[in-house]
């Protein structure tokens, strides 16, 4: 009988803590559980300089042509990534457009960058927020 009580208590304990143990929400969980062993590097070539371009949608018309004049070769590798800080620059309006921007206008900019071989990334700051918003 004592054994049954102990077994019952153990099952109840597992029912309570078991699901939590399977989530990422517990302090002290081993982050290694989130990642496999790092793969070997395959993209580094000795002597080759890698240059990423960071761009700004609001600078688009003035500078894109100059960025596009750079090409791979001669010991240089160019990677084109378009970081869209604008129009998400104002923290207080985190996911809202600045005045004058619409979905259609913004999609048009993104599409143009795509046509030129860029990949488009929208900027998000995960850990900081404008005091005006966070205090709401």
């Amino acid at each position: 009988m004592y054994l049954y009580h102990k077994l019952g208590a153990l099952i109840i304990l597992l029912l309570f803590i078991g699901p939590g143990m399977l989530t990422a929400e517990r302090v002290g969980e081993d982050p290694a559980a989130y990642v496999e062993d790092p793969p070997r590097s395959e993209d580094s070539e000795p002597g080759v300089k890698t240059v990423f371009f960071i761009t700004h949608a609001d600078e688009f018309d003035r500078t894109l042509g100059r960025v596009l004049s750079y090409e791979d070769g001669g010991g240089l590798r160019i990677l084109r990534w378009n970081y869209c800080f604008q129009p998400f620059r104002a923290w207080g309006l985190y996911f809202e457009f600045a005045e004058g921007w619409t979905d259609g206008r913004f999609a048009g900019y993104l599409s143009r960058f795509r046509e030129e071989g860029f990949r488009n990334l929208l900027y998000v700051d995960l850990t900081e927020c404008d005091h005006g918003y966070s205090g709401r």
């Binding site: 990949r119 929208l122 998000v124 900081e128």
Partner: protein
């Protein structure tokens, strides 16, 4: 909210899934993928060095996974700025296309490069990007920093503002076609 940065209008926010900031970010990011699914590739995630604890970093990973799972963008990419050392945030770097940091002071370059090289081994692209600390008011110093970083290492992030494109053209004149 965890704390307020002294003298700054920015607050350091908790990513606790039970608090409002987590839901605000998750819903906002997912919404963006639905509105711009045909034209965006992912998110540039910044300020992960501000995660003040392992728990906050784990919550950040959970958030990124939730957004990716619900994303309307196939194969949603993350690139991540400002990560901490691999031993603390390698599991976050493993979710990234590439990792890096902006504004590395030249005096600290050696240490940062070693740390980011290690961290980048977890990302898809094994080359981290770093950019020297730039000073628009002292372009000669900024250009010297770029040259030093490129002479010592093979990766850098260039800004497309006029000031910095001019530096790029002086440093790599042979690359212009």
């Amino acid at each position: 909210m965890l704390s307020q940065t002294a003298g700054s209008p920015l607050d350091l926010m908790s990513l606790d899934p039970w608090l409002s900031w987590y839901g605000y970010l998750r819903d906002g990011m997912i919404n963006l993928t639905r509105r711009f699914a045909d034209d965006m590739d992912g998110f540039a995630i910044d300020r992960l060095d501000r995660c003040p604890s392992l728990q906050e970093s784990v919550w950040a990973a959970q958030l990124l996974d939730e957004v990716r799972a619900a994303s309307a963008v196939p194969d949603l990419r993350y690139v991540m700025n400002s990560l901490q050392d691999a031993e603390h945030q390698g599991f976050l770097a493993s979710r990234a296309e590439f990792v890096g940091s902006d504004g590395v002071p030249m005096g600290e370059m050696d240490g940062w490069i070693a740390r980011y090289l290690e961290l980048a081994q977890y990302a898809s692209l094994k080359t981290p990007y770093l950019v020297p600390q730039l000073d628009d008011a002292a372009p000669a110093d900024s250009e010297a920093s770029y040259r030093l970083m490129l002479s010592e290492n093979g990766f850098v992030f260039f800004d497309d503002r006029e000031l910095y494109l001019g530096m790029m053209e002086r440093i790599f004149p042979e690359a212009i076609h």
